[in-house]
């Protein structure tokens, strides 16, 4: 970590008020993103990974949501202190986001060309003709064949993969420093998923855009990200370089997450081995105790785990875990 991080999230707490009381969906979260880096955030649904993305974009519905503490620093500017108007400039210009379902994220009544060029004109001063030209350029850049024709098509006339490319084009048209991709390929087939990741990788290396990839799939992280943050119940449980996490996961949850999923092997063998299981289910966020939220499902649980928040245990330069068991083992 020689260079200064591009984006820093410090002690971020997000609450949602529900009928059953306030629910803390993010609990003192710390993150950082270096320029040009690919950071993966992984966890089960409800672990707060999408909430992290929405908080950075400040797209949380308020109320019921509320950012109750923390800082989100983009190049030393605290985004939480900005006005909504100012934030609108940041969104799309400095930080862009692409979502899981490209069909619902595009407006069905306008052609894709209109939508992309409108987006360009919103952030940059350009004439209609210039914006159109830029649209064609950028659609070509994201690998859409014959963009001159595609700009006249409506979202439903495009395949899922093409729609996601259009979304990426819209996200990129102002050359943002950060691109947040929230499960960008969950709705797509594997061969299309591979194409989209090739594209994202190309953007990252050629344009130097830092990417935050949010996913539930550890193998996607393994293929794409440089560094990974594992989240559980609104907190970070482990963080490190991808290879370190996959080869030597330390937190019991990370271990479970890696060993419970079948991974493609060259030789599947003749015998079917049983998969590991993480027993139980993700806890109800309104009923978290004071200690480690993973404790009820953990195989290495100790009495201490229920009583006290686990400390951050440093395991290497970039590798740390939040766990009493790891602390003891060290």
């Amino acid at each position: 970590m020689s260079q200064k991080p591009l984006l820093q999230v410090k002690g971020l707490c997000v609450e949602f008020s529900t009928r059953r009381g306030n629910v803390q969906v993010l609990n003192h979260l710390d993150l950082h993103l270096d320029p040009g880096e690919a950071l993966g955030i992984v966890g089960e649904s409800g672990c707060g990974k999408s909430m992290t993305a929405l908080s950075i974009m400040q797209l949380i519905p308020v109320p019921p949501g509320n950012i109750s503490a923390g800082q989100i620093l983009l190049n030393d500017t605290d985004l939480l202190q900005l006005s909504e108007k100012h934030m609108q400039d940041i969104r799309g210009n400095d930080i862009s986001m692409i979502f899981q379902e490209p069909m619902t994220s595009l407006n069905p009544v306008f052609t894709v060309g209109t939508q992309v060029s409108e987006n360009i004109r919103r952030h940059q001063s350009a004439t209609r003709a210039q914006a159109r030209e830029k649209t064609i350029q950028i659609l070509e850049a994201v690998g859409i064949p014959v963009p001159e024709l595609r700009i006249h098509q409506y979202p439903h006339e495009l395949s899922g993969g093409m729609r996601q490319r259009v979304m990426i084009a819209m996200a990129l048209c102002c050359q943002p420093q950060v691109l947040i991709a929230d499960e960008p390929t969950t709705a797509l087939d594997v061969t299309i998923q591979a194409q989209i990741f090739d594209l994202l990788r190309q953007i990252q290396t050629e344009m130097g855009t830092a990417v935050i990839l949010i996913t539930h799939d550890m193998s996607v992280i393994a293929e794409f990200a440089d560094r990974v943050v594992v989240m559980y119940a609104g907190s970070k449980v482990e963080e490190g370089m991808v290879r370190d996490i996959i080869d030597t996961p330390r937190h019991p949850y990370t271990r479970g997450l890696i060993s419970c999923v079948p991974f493609l092997k060259k030789d599947p063998g003749t015998e079917r081995e049983e998969l590991n299981e993480i027993p139980g289910v993700v806890p109800d966020m309104s009923q978290l105790g004071v200690g480690c939220s993973f404790a009820p499902r953990c195989n290495y649980v100790m009495e201490k785990c229920y009583l006290e928040k686990p400390p951050e245990v440093r395991l290497g330069d970039n590798h740390h875990a939040h766990c009493w068991y790891v602390e003891e083992a060290k």
């Binding site: 949602f16 529900t18 009928r19 019921p64 049983e274 590991n276 299981e277 027993p279 139980g280 289910v281 993700v282 806890p283 109800d284 195989n299």
Partner: protein, 291 residues
């Protein structure tokens, strides 16, 4: 780690009906409608026992204004308006409910068949429905009643015949939506027949919007009966609020009270049921439910 461990249920919210009730009573207007209706229904059932004056009896001077002899005055024949309103409540409500019941029966049968089977069955039934939809409802009902002698049964039937189309279309739309759900496929995979799928699986799941429409339909039927009576096509032997308005129509300038009070009763009744319908609509709509 490999031992199977019975997992706990994550959270236990209330039963669906309780949830609906909670949403409903949170809506002030709906609760007002419900209170209004409780009062009207109570009047219909208990009123005649408490206030035993026969509404057909001539109990006072004709057209005596309210407050002089009787609380709400008398009509052009000297009949007690208050007695009419109290005794007319049950007749009016009965017409509203009976007409709605027929409306629902015709509408649901046609809607279910059209929505479930689709294809030519749907085509045929929907053209049939459209035929009824394009007829001017009041005119058609008037013709029906005028052709035969106006009796309360005929009026109920006439109202049902002109108003079932909405329920039919709604039921059809719900069926077309729900029959594509995976649990319907799952039922078929278990060997369920068409009858079970139609009536035991899809229909209960399409009830929420139907219930709302049924509630509103009660109000519409009451208004319809009033309109027919106003035009002189009411049943002269059934003392409904509509009949009261209809019979005093010609004396509206001389005795405003003989038309206004029953009119007000109808207004409150329809208002109440509309508020209840709106409340149900919000309560049954899962999208509006809070977290």
């Amino acid at each position: 780690m490999t031992t199977m461990q019975p997992a706990e249920a994550v959270f236990v919210p209330d039963r669906p009906l309780m949830e609906v009730w909670r949403m409903f009573i949170a809506n002030k207007a709906a609760v007002f409608g419900l209170v209004l209706w409780a009062f009207i229904v109570l009047t219909a059932f208990l009123g005649p026992m408490v206030y035993t004056v026969d509404p057909f009896d001539l109990v006072g001077a004709p057209m005596s204004p309210p407050g002089e002899e009787l609380l709400l005055g008398t009509d052009y024949l000297g009949r007690d308006i208050l007695a009419g309103i109290i005794h007319g409540a049950s007749v009016t409500l009965a017409i509203g409910f009976a007409a709605t019941a027929f409306t629902v029966i015709i509408g649901i049968i046609i809607g279910v068949l059209a929505g479930y089977y689709g294809g030519w069955v749907d085509n045929l039934l929907m053209r049939f429905t459209e035929f009824f939809q394009v007829l001017p409802a009041l005119l058609f009902a008037m013709v029906l009643v005028a052709l035969f002698s106006p009796s309360i049964y005929l009026i109920v039937l006439a109202i049902a015949v002109v108003s079932w189309t909405g329920i039919a279309r709604l039921t059809r739309a719900e069926f077309m939506k729900i029959k594509e759900r995976e649990y319907v496929m799952a039922e078929r995979a278990m060997g369920a027949g068409n009858l079970r799928i139609m009536w035991q699986i899809i229909l209960p799941n399409s009830l929420p919007p139907l219930i709302v429409t049924m509630a509103l339909s009660v109000g519409v039927s009451i208004l319809f009966e009033a309109a027919l009576s106003f035009l002189g096509l009411g049943d002269p032997n059934a003392y409904s609020w509509g009949y009261m308005i209809g019979s005093s129509r010609e004396y509206i300038w001389e005795s405003w009270w003989s038309v206004t009070f029953p009119g007000f009763a109808i207004f409150l009744t329809v208002l109440g049921i509309s508020l209840i319908g709106d409340g149900l609509n919000d309560a049954l709509n899962p999208k509006l439910r809070r977290l």
